[in-house]
C-alpha cells in the first residue's frame, strides 16, 4: 500500500516537473501598433518623474496620440509618432530607439544644435604648452601657464577610470591653479562624475536633493535623497576654475553642481544645459527601447536643475566668431583669475 503510494507520489513529482517546463505567468506583450503605443504610454505614465514640472497632461497626450498611432501604416511612422508623444515631455533624457544602431528619437532644443563656441583643438594648439600636453583614454591635460594646470573631461561615459584624473594631477605636479574644462560634456555615468568631483572635495558636502518616482501617481516620490560629494582618490589642493557652457548635460551637470559647493572652486562660462533626469531604459516587444527620467534633481536651494541648468559664478559667453579668431573667452578669464596672462 505504502509502496504504491510512494510510487504514485514519485510519479506526481515527475509529472509536476514536466508540466511546469514552460509555465505562463504573464501574457506575452504584443507588437501591434496599439500594444506598442499602450506600452510606451503606460510605462511612461508609471515611471516618468517630471509631469508636473513640465506641465504635461499625459492623459490628454495619450488621447490625442493613440488614434494616430493606431493609423500608422509603417514601423517608421509609428516610431515617429511615439517619438512625437515622448517629445511632448521636452526632456532630453526621454528617447526612443528603434535599433541598436539607429539614432534615438529624442527631444532637442534649438540651442542643442547651435555651435557652442568651444573648440578643443584650439585649446591644445593655442593655450597649452606643447611639451606638457598629454591625453589619456578619457581626458586631456597639460600646463596652460606657469603653475596653471588644465584638464579637459569631454565625457563621463564608462566607469572605473577615475584614476586617470589622479594620474593627470600627479603629472601636473599639484599646480597652484587648475582649470577643469567640461564644456561640451554630454554626461554619462553619475557615480563616475561624482567620484571625479571627489578629487577636489575637502570633506563631504551635500550639493543637491533628488526625490525619485516610486508609485503610480504622478506625485508619488521617495523622500528627498541627499546628493553629496566626498573626498576620493588623489586630493587636488589647487584653486580650481571649472569651465562650462550650454552643451553640458546630465551627469556633467551633477559634476558642476557638486563642484559649485566646494570653497576652492569657481564656475566660469555659461549656464549648463538643464537636463537632469535619471533615465531608466524600457523595452518593447518588437525590440525597440525607450528611456524615461525617474527623478527630479534640485540644488541646495531646492531649485530644479531640469531646464534651468547650473548657473556659473562668472558668466562668460562664447561668441560665434571666437573660434575662427583663435580666442576662447572662458579660458582667457580662467587664466586671468590664475594670474597668468592669456
Amino acid at each position: 500500500m505504502m509502496s504504491k503510494t510512494a510510487r504514485a507520489l514519485g510519479a506526481a513529482v515527475m509529472m509536476l516537473a514536466a508540466a511546469c517546463a514552460d509555465p505562463t505567468l504573464v501574457a506575452t506583450p504584443g507588437t501591434s501598433n496599439g500594444a506598442l503605443f499602450d506600452a510606451v504610454w503606460s510605462q511612461t505614465d508609471l515611471q516618468y518623474s517630471m509631469f508636473a514640472l513640465k506641465h504635461v497632461d499625459w492623459d490628454s497626450v495619450g488621447r490625442v496620440m493613440r488614434p494616430r498611432a493606431l493609423a500608422a501604416t509603417s514601423d517608421a511612422e509609428l516610431a515617429r509618432l511615439l517619438g512625437d508623444m515622448l517629445e511632448t515631455l521636452r526632456d532630453r533624457h526621454v528617447s526612443l530607439s528603434t535599433s541598436v544602431n539607429a539614432t534615438p528619437i529624442a527631444y532637442r532644443t534649438a540651442s542643442d544644435s547651435q555651435p557652442s563656441g568651444f573648440n578643443a583643438t584650439l585649446i591644445d594648439h593655442v593655450y597649452l604648452t606643447p611639451a606638457t600636453s598629454h591625453s589619456t583614454e578619457h581626458l586631456s591635460y597639460g600646463l596652460a601657464g606657469p603653475g596653471v594646470g588644465y584638464v579637459r573631461i569631454p565625457s563621463f561615459t564608462g566607469s572605473g577610470w577615475a584614476n586617470e584624473l589622479d594620474d593627470a594631477l600627479t603629472a601636473l605636479n599639484d599646480p597652484a591653479h587648475l582649470i577643469i574644462d567640461v564644456r561640451d560634456n554630454l554626461g554619462g555615468d553619475d557615480e563616475l562624475a561624482i567620484a571625479l568631483a571627489g578629487r577636489f572635495a575637502d570633506r563631504r558636502r551635500v550639493y543637491g536633493y533628488v526625490p525619485v518616482r516610486n508609485g503610480p501617481s504622478h506625485d508619488d516620490f521617495t523622500p528627498e535623497i541627499e546628493q553629496a560629494v566626498q573626498p576620493a582618490g588623489r586630493h587636488a589642493n589647487s584653486a580650481v576654475v571649472v569651465l562650462t557652457n550650454r552643451h553640458v548635460y546630465s551627469s556633467a551637470e551633477d559634476f558642476v553642481l557638486a563642484l559649485r559647493e566646494l570653497p576652492n572652486v569657481t564656475i566660469v562660462g555659461d549656464t549648463t544645459g538643464g537636463s537632469s533626469g535619471k533615465p531608466i531604459t524600457r523595452e518593447l516587444a518588437n525590440g525597440w527601447t525607450f528611456t524615461v527620467s525617474t527623478w527630479i534633481e534640485y540644488d541646495l536651494e531646492r531649485r530644479p536643475i531640469e531646464d534651468a541648468g547650473v548657473a556659473p559664478a562668472i558668466v562668460v559667453r562664447a561668441q560665434p566668431s571666437d573660434v575662427s579668431r583663435g580666442v576662447d573667452r572662458a579660458m582667457n578669464r580662467a587664466l586671468e583669475m590664475a594670474g597668468a596672462a592669456p
Binding site: 503510494t5 505567468l25 508609485g215
Partner: protein
Amino acid sequence: MSCRSAVLVQIALSTLVLAPAIVDAQAARCPQPSEVAIAAGVGQSDHADASASPAQFQGRGFESTMGGTFDLRTLCVGGSAEFGSRPLRAVAGSFGREHAVDAGAGLDVLHSVRDSRIAAGFALRGDLMATSHTFDDASHTTSTFRLATISLGPAVRASIPVRTARIDVSASLPLVALVDHAYNGVWSGDDAPHFRPQAWPTLRGAEAAVFIERRLTLRMGAMLGYSVRAARYDDAQPVRALSQRVLVGIALRTSGSR
C-alpha cells in the same frame, strides 16, 4: 498566474492534504526525525517583474539548500536556507537578458496535530530576489531590481514512512509580509530596502515540497526532492514568480531513528 501554474500549486497542496490518510500514528513533536540536511540541484525560475520588463523571463541554474528540523520542548522547529543563481532569457519577444540571484531563509515553528506525523504552525520566511537586467539597447544598460519579502503565515508538515524510506511533505502560505520592491531599479544613492507592510491578497504565495529520504545508515540518509514556490505581488509594478527545484542531498540525523 496561468492555469498551468495554478494547477501545479493545487496538485502540490493536494498531495499535502491527502497525506494524513496514509500516515502511521506515532508520538513525537516533529513528523520526521530531528536531522540536518544539505542538498544541491537544479532549479527553474520563471518570473515577470514589471519594474524591469513587461515580459516573462525564464532560466535554469544551480540551487542549494540546507536545513534542519528539531524537537524543541513541545514544538517542532525547522530552519532552512536556500540559494540559487541563474541566467534568464525572455520567454518571447526581444527583451534583453537577466541574471537572477535568489536567497532565502525560513523558520518553522510547528506543533503536532491529530498524530505525530503531521505538524502545523507558522512559518517565518525572508526571501530576496535580485535581478540584474541588461537591456537590449545600444549601450546594453544594466539595472538591478529587487524584491525582498519577510512573510509570516501558516505552515504544515507531514511525514510518511515507506519501508526503508520516508516521504516528507511540507507547505506554507504567507499571509502577512513586509515587502521591498524596487520601483525604478536599485541605484547606489538609495540602495537600502524600503519595506512596506502587505497582506493577502496583495501578496499571494505558496510553497510546497516533497522529499523522499532513503536511509543509508542509522544516522544518514539520501534525499531526493522537488519543491515549488509561487508568488504574486500585485503592486503598481506587479511581480509574478514561480520557482521549481529538484534537489539531491544527504540528511544526518541528530536523534534516534524513528
